[in-house]
């Protein structure tokens, strides 16, 4: 039996094909999101299946999650909050707090020992504190997303970014550049500001261990900024951009078993 998890996010679509009996990921892949999420997900799914010599007929159940979950082919939809929790629990069972920063929102989940969501907070009202915000910063500084971490690491004096509105922050960055601030200091300041924003969602108490997932976890320096803001160690989960799809595939197996 194969189960499939499709995470149709705002920036990319990720798919995991799982052999639940063997607890093995048979295939996984990601492509940029577009205006036709159904077609994009379908093509990615078919490509992954072809790669392991299978077809859609071999999939017992598909769970879709993410922003576009209702537009992609699936048997069931489950929110990304539940899916990320289950995905992180599968690869990092000790985690009690999960920080997930995706393209368009950021979330903080508190987990029960068995991986269930005890509580969550979510920022989806503005792009500040999300991958979209960091993309804007990279674009404004003329560097790639992958360069943000190394740049921040080179900073000796992070700039103070006072506004967490993506529009106003861009204005501040322009002002900082005009006043001669170094790119690395701006980037370090932005990472600190994003971390501070996310930590605000945590409220007064954060249970350890803290796991960091979502596409933004790939940006070097972000986990360190979160760790500093929290005052706690933060662990990046393996293949952090895939945990939502992994959780969806695991939940698909649970649904299949009834």
């Amino acid at each position: 039996m194969i189960t499939a998890g499709i995470d149709a996010g705002s920036r990319s679509t990720k798919i995991v094909l799982l052999d639940p009996a063997a607890r093995t990921v048979l295939a996984a892949g990601a492509v940029d999101q577009g205006v036709h999420p159904e077609r994009i997900a379908g093509e990615l799914l078919d490509g992954l299946l072809a790669g392991i010599g299978r077809s859609r007929a071999d999939i017992a159940r598909t769970v879709a999650t993410g922003y576009a979950r209702n537009t992609v082919p699936a048997d069931t939809t489950i929110t990304e909050i539940t899916c990320h929790a289950r995905g992180v629990h599968a690869v990092c069972p000790a985690a009690r707090t999960v920080i997930e920063i995706g393209g368009q929102d950021s979330k903080l989940l508190r987990l029960e020992p068995e991986g269930r969501v005890r509580d969550f907070a979510m920022n989806d009202r503005c792009a500040a504190g999300t991958g979209r915000f960091l993309e804007m910063v990279a674009q404004r500084l003329g560097v790639g997303l992958a360069d943000l971490g190394p740049l921040a690491a080179a900073s000796a004096s992070p700039a103070a970014i006072s506004s967490m509105c993506v529009v106003f922050a861009e204005t501040e960055i322009i002002g900082l550049l005009a006043s001669g601030a170094k790119g690395e200091d701006i980037v370090a300041g932005v990472l600190d500001a994003v971390a501070s924003r996310v930590v605000t969602m945590a409220g007064r108490r954060v249970d350890e261990p803290v796991a960091f997932t979502g596409g933004v976890a790939r940006i070097a320096g972000m986990a360190a900024a979160l760790s500093t803001a929290l005052g706690l160690p933060v662990t990046i989960v393996p293949t952090p951009e895939m945990t939502g799809a992994l959780g969806a595939a695991i939940l698909a197996e649970g649904k299949e078993r009834g």
Partner: protein, 530 residues
């Protein structure tokens, strides 16, 4: 076995209305199809909502959406129009005790931008006055006063200040600066009594009204005021208000011992919620209400006697008792007999009776009868497995209540910031004392922990499995309380809680809001399974 009753879109209501008209539908003068409010009133949001399909539900909506007509008719008949602002539940009781007097809440204009999908441009008008979106949507009231298009300008304007939200105080002051004279009365912050200081119980501290529990029973500690719970208080009638005297004997429906197989609530439940206030505070508020009484009497040109006030309180309590029974039935039934949206509207009626106290009672009685019938028949509007969800704070966009149900939730308790307007007003006390105690029980007048304690008590009582703490954008009062309430629910009940912000129109935010609600319900369902 449960029979599912489907809620209806506006379009489906058109056909339903024709079918009802073909039968024995008896409508009040303000009746008619829902569609007319879109066509004639510009209430465009109705086309995006789902409604209860009953005649009682139709009557509720028609009653709500014709308030402006009632106010204009009252003005044409020479009645005194009293604009009561902010206190949410107290001043209307005083005003309706006078003959030929109608009270309403201009603050209620905050729903107009939602109902009319902002075609009213009230918020734009407020923006132009410098009261922008950093303020609560109640600012729509300023636009309504300026345009005079949504209600006739009141003859008397009264506004409570002090322990009220900052937004509203600022908005009301702007209104006064526009040339609308306001009589201000102060509601002080409800502080706990000092050790040794004389104090009294406030409404809401006793268990909620239950079978066999007489109205307004003191929870103790105020022995001089306490009465035997079986002692009935006759509703006094005064001949100068014939319309109000009809049915003045207590004809309110008595809760049956058992409704549809569900045992009626018993009185053995005791909640640890001692809501008390220093005597000095109660005396101060009673003094303030005496000023309000004098202003109203002078405007009406007749005395507002204690007997008239007692009669007014008794009538308000009939509305509150009916509503209490409706809420209890709807929240405790195994399957939701009424949708969250209609229940939300019904609760709002308690504030000022939607400008017609007698009709308000009939509307609520109709709804209660329909709910009872459905519970007895095993009918409901939702899946029996819907997640029992406690909802805190009113929503700016009514669509939100539909969304909760579409996601698989069911409202099993609410706290819309005006619980003091739902609790019975003590009838065994001097009327101003009783009203002062009621006003001081306002959740907005006291510390957030008091409010949180009541939310926890009620959520436990109605077996909530999840909770939503809704915020109103720009409403400063809710900004800090939400976290206190959410923490208390998590700590005391161990249920998942989500905080949401609902602007006057949620459409652009709907995907994100749905995700949060669905995630909340998923977390709650996850806990059901071992």
């Amino acid at each position: 076995m449960t029979r599912r009753i489907e809620t209806l879109t506006l379009e489906q209501w058109d056909a339903r209305y024709d079918a009802l008209r073909a039968g024995p539908l008896r409508e009040p003068a303000y009746g008619g199809p829902l569609r007319r409010h879109v066509r004639e009133g510009g209430d465009l949001r109705l086309a995006q909502l789902r409604f209860d399909p009953s005649a009682a539900g139709l009557r509720l909506w028609n009653f709500l959406l014709t308030e402006e007509d009632r106010l204009r008719a009252a003005r044409a008949e020479g009645h005194l129009l009293v604009g009561a602002m902010k206190d949410l539940g107290t001043v209307p009781v005083l005003a309706f005790a006078l003959p030929r007097t109608v009270a309403f809440y201009p603050d209620g204009a905050w729903w107009i931008p939602c109902i009319m999908q902002r075609s009213d441009r009230l918020l734009h008008r407020a923006d132009a006055m410098g009261v922008d979106e950093s303020f609560c949507p109640v600012r729509a009231m300023l636009g309504a006063f300026e345009s005079a298009a949504h209600f006739p300008l009141p003859d008397v304007l009264l506004c409570s200040v002090g322990a009220a939200c900052d937004d509203f105080s600022a908005i009301a002051q702007r209104l006064a600066a526009m040339g609308h004279p306001i009589t201000w009365w102060e509601i002080p912050h409800r502080r706990p009594p000092e050790p040794g200081e004389e104090s009294v119980d406030l409404p809401g501290s006793a268990p909620l009204r239950t079978k066999g529990n007489a109205a307004s029973r003191e929870a103790g500690g105020d022995a001089g005021d306490a009465r035997d719970e079986n002692e009935s208080t006759p509703i006094p009638c005064i001949p100068c208000i014939p319309a109000l005297s009809e049915g003045c004997e207590d004809a309110s429906p008595k809760p049956p011992d058992c409704v549809g197989g569900i045992p009626a609530p018993t009185t053995d439940a005791v909640w640890d919620l001692p809501l008390r206030a220093p005597r000095a505070l109660v005396d101060f508020v009673a003094g303030e209400l005496q000023r309000v009484r004098d202003v109203l009497a002078a405007a009406a040109g007749c005395e507002l006697t204690d007997d008239m006030l007692r009669c007014g309180i008794a009538h308000a309590n009939r509305v509150r008792r009916t509503l209490a029974e409706l809420r209890d039935l709807a929240f405790s039934a195994p399957v939701a007999p009424l949708p969250a949206l209609e229940l939300h509207i019904a609760e709002m009626l308690a504030l000022h009776f939607c400008s017609d106290r007698s009709e308000c009672l009939r509307v609520l009685e109709d709804l209660l009868a329909e709910a009872r019938r459905r519970v007895r028949a095993g009918e409901g509007v939702l899946d029996p497995a819907a997640v029992r969800t406690f909802w805190v704070n009113p929503v700016a966009d009514l669509r939100m209540m539909n969304v909760l149900e579409e996601c698989g939730g069911r409202v099993c308790g609410t706290e819309y910031l005006f619980t003091h307007a739902l609790d019975e007003i003590p009838e065994h006390l001097p009327p101003l004392e009783a009203l002062a105690r009621t006003a001081l029980a306002d959740p907005m007048a006291g510390p957030a922990r008091d409010r949180a304690a009541r939310v926890v008590r009620d959520a436990r009582r109605w077996s909530a499995q999840a909770a939503v703490v809704s915020r109103i954008p720009g409403a400063s009062h809710c900004a800090t309380e939400g976290a206190v309430i959410a923490d208390a629910l998590r700590r005391e009940l161990g249920i998942p809680v989500v905080e949401l912000e609902t602007p006057p129109l949620i459409d652009p935010m709907l995907p994100g809001l749905r995700t949060r609600i669905q995630a909340l319900l998923e977390a709650a369902r996850d806990r059901r399974t071992p």
